[in-house]
Amino acid sequence: MPSEWEGIDSARRSLIKLTAAGGLAGLAGCTGGGGGDGGQSPTESGDGGTDSDGSDGIGFPQPDSGEEDQYEKVRQIEYTGITREYSPQQFQLQNLATNMWKEGLGLNITLNPKQYSVNAEQFINHEYDILQIKIEARPERLDPWGILTYFDPDKSDPGEYNTTEYQSEELNDALEKVETLNDREERKEWVYKAQELMAQAQPLMFVYHANKLSAADGRAFGNYQPRIGGMPFWNVFSLSQMEQKTDESTFILGHTRDIQTLNTLNLRGTSSVRALLLNYDPLVRIDLDGTPRPAAAADWDIVDTTTVDVTLRDGMTFHDGEPVTPEDVKFTFDYIMDWDVTYLRSYYNPIDNVELRGDNVIRFNLKNPNAPFVQITLNQIWILPKHIWENVVEEKGFEHPKEWAKEEVDLTGSGPYRMTEYESENRAIYEKFDDYYMDFPVDRLIWKVYGSQTTAIGDLEEGRIHNVRGLQASQYERTKQNNNLVSFAVPSHGLTPIYIQNSREPFGDINVRHAMAHCLDKQEIINVALQGYGDIATSPIAPANEFWHNPDVPKYEGGAETGRQILYDAGYRWNSNQQLLKPV
C-alpha cells in the first residue's frame, strides 16, 4: 500500500481505538453506579463497609464477611406508570425516577405504564407499590383544604383518598384545624404545620408543580391577564379586562377535550365546570390570584363558625328575563342535596340547612366549622333557576334529574355568557348576556374541539382561533418566537407527585422514604420532562399559592449518596450487584 494509505489507515485505527476506549470507560462509569462520579467502584467489605476515602463517597457497602445471611434482598417493586399518550411529561418523570432509584439506591423497580383507567383504579383501591398520578390545578384547590384533603389520615381505607395509607395523629390534628378554623392567620399556622409534618414524613414524593403553558392571539386582542392554574382566560376576570384591538368580537378557544356534561345534576369533569361557570353564576368567584370575590353574592358574613350569611346582589336576572331571587338560591342547594349529586357532595356535605332571612339574605347553617366554605362551596355550586328545574322530574318522567340528556338540558342561568349552541365533540358557542352586572368587550365565545393540538396551534398562528392552552414545552418555545402571539408560562398550584404505598414493604420505613427523596434529583427532572417550566415541590402546596405555601420545610437535596448513607445507618446493605439488602 502506498504510504499515504498507511497513514490514513493507522489514523483510522487509532480513532477506532480511542472511541472504543472512550465507550468502555463510559460503560464502566454506568455500571459503577450513579450518585457520585462515574469511575466509582464499590468498597470492599473488609473494613466494615464505610469508605474513609472522601472523594469516592459511600459507595454500596456490603455486609461484613460472615454476616451475609443476616440480610436478604429487598423485594421486586412495581412502579405503576402512566402511558406516554396520556402525559408525555409524567412518562419522562417516571423513567427518570426509576433510573435514579435503581442506580442510586439499588432498588429493584420495574416500571409498568398503564392505561389511565387502570392506573386510576389501582390508585383508588390502594393497590400499588409506587404509582404515578397527578393532582390537577383546579380552582377549588387554591384553598389549602382543596389539596390537603387528599392526604387526610382519616381517609385511609381502600376507596378513600389517602391512598398512601400514611397515619399520623399530629397530621390528623393539623388538618382538622385547616378544615375548621375561619381566621385566616390562625389557619395559616396550621397549614404551615401540616406542610412541615408532611415534608418530614415524606409519605409520597413531592416532585414538581408544572407551569401551565398557553398562547393567545396578540393581533385581535390585548391586555391578557391570566389566572393561576389551567385555562387561564376562561373566567370573568380575564375576559372583562381583555382589550379589543380590531373589530373582532368573537374569542375562540381551541381545546383538545370536549365538555363532558351540561347537566348540573349529572356533573363530571373539570372541563364541564369551567364551561358551565360562564353560563351560570355562583355566589362567589375566584379572582386571578386566587382570592374569592363577590359574584351573585354582594357580600357575605361569617356570623359564627357554623353560620354564614350571604346577601344576594340586587337586580340580577336569568337569561329568560326572570329575576334571580333568594328562593332560587335556597332551591338550588336544597335540590342538589335532595337529589344527592355525587360530584358535588364534598361541597355541600358541610351544609346542614339553608334558610331565608329576608332582605335578600340567605343563611347557611353548617354541621361543623368549615373554613373553605366560601372559597370552595359557594364557588362550585351555581344558581339554578327554580322555575325551570322544580318540575322537571314530573314533567319529563325522569327518575332523577340527571337523566336530562346532555344536548337537551335547559341551560338557562344567570351567568355572563349564555351557551346557545352545543355539538358533541365539535364546539360550544356562547353569546354575551347583556344584563349581567359586569362588562365584557367580547360578544361571543367559542369552545372549539380539536382532534390534535398541533392543528390547533397552526390555526392560532393563522389567526383563525385566539387561544390554545395545555402546550408542551416545545410547542411553547415555538409560540414564543411568534410575534403575533402572546405566550404565557403560568405557575400552577397543581401537584405532580409520586405516590408510595406506605403499608407495603419497604416503604413503611421512613428511612427508605427519606433516602428515595434525597436520591430524586427534582431539578433534573424538571429540566428534562418540563424543559425547565416548573417549580420544585417540597410539600403539597405550591410556591404559586403564595399566602399558604410554607417555604421552610425540610428539603431533600443530598443526592443518592446521602440516601445511601441514611440507609446504611439504618442497617441496610448492598450485595455485589449493588442491589439493596435489608436486615432480617
Binding site: 383507567s117 368573537t250 370536549d258 356535605n349 340527571k402 358557542i429 367559542i446 382532534g451 390534535s452
Partner: protein, 329 residues
C-alpha cells in the same frame, strides 16, 4: 334453486356472525381492567358513591344476568343509554355516523369508481411506463400512513397556501337551521374537501391494484383471444369484456373496505377534528362507556357483515358460478 338456497344459507351465517360479535364485545369490555367509575377521582366520590354509580349502570348484577339483558335488548334494537352522555346510544350513533358517512362513504365511493378505471388502464398497458410509474405511485400512496398524508395536506393546503380550513366540519361560529342546510352549505364543502381528498387517495390503491391484477389474469384467458380473433377493437375488449369480468373481486373488496373505513375513520377524524363516529367510539372506550362502545362496534360489525352478505347475493346474480362454488362448504 341453487341461488335461493345459497342466499338462505348466507343469511343464516350472517345472523350467527352478528350474534357471535355481540357476545364477544360484551365479554371484551367486561374483561378489560377498570370500570366506568375508576376514572372519577374527586373527594366527593366515596366508595359508597362508586358502588351506587356502578349499580345505576347495571354493572353490579351477575355476569350472566347482564348478558341476558343485553341480548334481550339487542333483539328489540335497544342499544342502551350512554354512561357518559345519558342519551340513548342509537341517537348518538346515528348523528355521528352521518358525519362519518358523508366523508368516508363519498371518499370510498370515489376511490372504488376511479380506482378500477385506473387499474384497468394499467393492466391494459401492462409493462409500459404508464404501468410501471403508475404502480409505483399507487404503492407509495398505499404505504403512506393516512395521518401523515393528512398532516402534510393540512400543512400544505391550510397553513402554507391558506386555501382550505385545517379541520372541523364548519367554521367555528357558523350556525345552521338544520343538518341538511349544513351539509349543503359551501362552508361545509370547503371543510370536506381536504379530508375527502386525503381519504380518497388513501383508499385508491386497493381497488386499483386488485383490478389491475384480476384483469391481467382475465386478459390471459381464452375468450379474450377469441374476441380479438373476431376483430373487436381494443377499447371494447378492455372495458366491455375484460373489465366486467374483473369486477367481482373489486366489489367484494368494496364491501370490506367500507367496513374497515369505519374502523379507520378514527385516525382521519382525529387529524381533521371531524366529529364522526370513529372519534366518538375512541372516547367511549377511553371512558369505559360500555353501552356506547359496544353499540358502536356492533354497528360497524353489522355493517361489514350485511354488506358482505349483499355482495354475496349480488355476485350470485352477476356470476352464477359463485353459487355452485359456494355450495360445497
Amino acid at each position: 334453486m341453487n341461488k335461493s338456497r345459497y342466499i338462505v344459507v348466507r343469511a343464516g351465517l350472517m345472523v350467527v356472525s352478528l350474534f357471535a360479535v355481540a357476545t364477544l364485545l360484551f365479554l371484551l369490555f367486561r374483561i378489560l381492567p377498570g370500570n366506568p367509575t375508576s376514572i372519577l377521582i374527586d373527594p366527593g366520590i366515596t366508595k359508597a358513591a362508586r358502588e351506587q354509580l356502578l349499580a345505576s349502570y347495571g354493572l353490579d348484577k351477575p355476569l350472566h344476568i347482564q348478558y341476558f339483558l343485553y341480548i334481550k335488548n339487542l333483539a328489540i334494537g335497544n342499544l342502551g343509554v350512554s354512561f357518559t352522555r345519558n342519551q340513548p346510544v342509537t341517537k348518538i350513533l346515528i348523528e355521528s355516523t352521518l358525519n362519518t358517512l358523508v366523508l368516508i362513504l363519498s371518499a370510498v365511493l370515489l376511490a372504488f369508481l376511479s380506482g378500477p378505471i385506473i387499474g384497468a388502464v394499467f393492466a391494459w398497458n401492462r409493462g409500459s411506463s404508464i404501468d410501471r410509474y403508475g404502480v409505483i405511485s399507487i404503492l407509495t400512496l398505499f404505504a403512506i400512513p393516512v395521518f401523515w398524508s393528512g398532516m402534510l395536506g393540512i400543512m400544505l393546503f391550510s397553513f402554507r397556501l391558506g386555501w382550505l380550513p385545517s379541520g372541523g366540519m364548519t367554521a367555528p361560529g357558523a350556525v345552521y337551521d338544520s343538518k341538511l342546510d349544513m351539509y349543503l352549505s359551501v362552508d361545509f364543502l370547503r371543510h370536506l374537501m381536504l379530508p375527502f381528498l386525503i381519504t380518497t387517495l388513501y383508499y385508491l390503491s386497493v381497488p386499483t391494484l386488485i383490478m389491475r391484477n384480476t384483469m391481467i389474469d382475465v386478459m390471459g384467458s381464452d375468450f379474450i383471444e377469441m374476441l380479438r380473433a373476431q376483430g373487436l377493437d381494443e377499447i371494447r375488449i378492455m372495458f366491455r369484456h375484460a373489465a366486467r369480468n374483473s369486477m367481482l373481486p373489486v366489489m367484494h373488496q368494496a364491501a370490506i373496505s367500507i367496513g374497515f373505513a369505519f374502523g379507520g375513520s378514527v385516525i382521519i377524524e382525529t387529524v381533521f377534528s371531524w366529529p364522526g363516529v370513529g372519534r366518538v367510539l375512541w372516547i367511549a372506550v377511553n371512558n369505559q362507556d360500555y353501552p356506547l362502545a359496544q353499540g358502536g362496534f356492533l354497528m360497524i360489525a353489522a355493517i361489514i357483515i350485511i354488506l358482505n352478505f349483499l355482495v354475496d347475493v349480488i355476485s350470485v346474480y352477476i356470476d352464477p358460478r359463485a353459487a355452485i362454488k359456494g355450495e360445497g362448504f
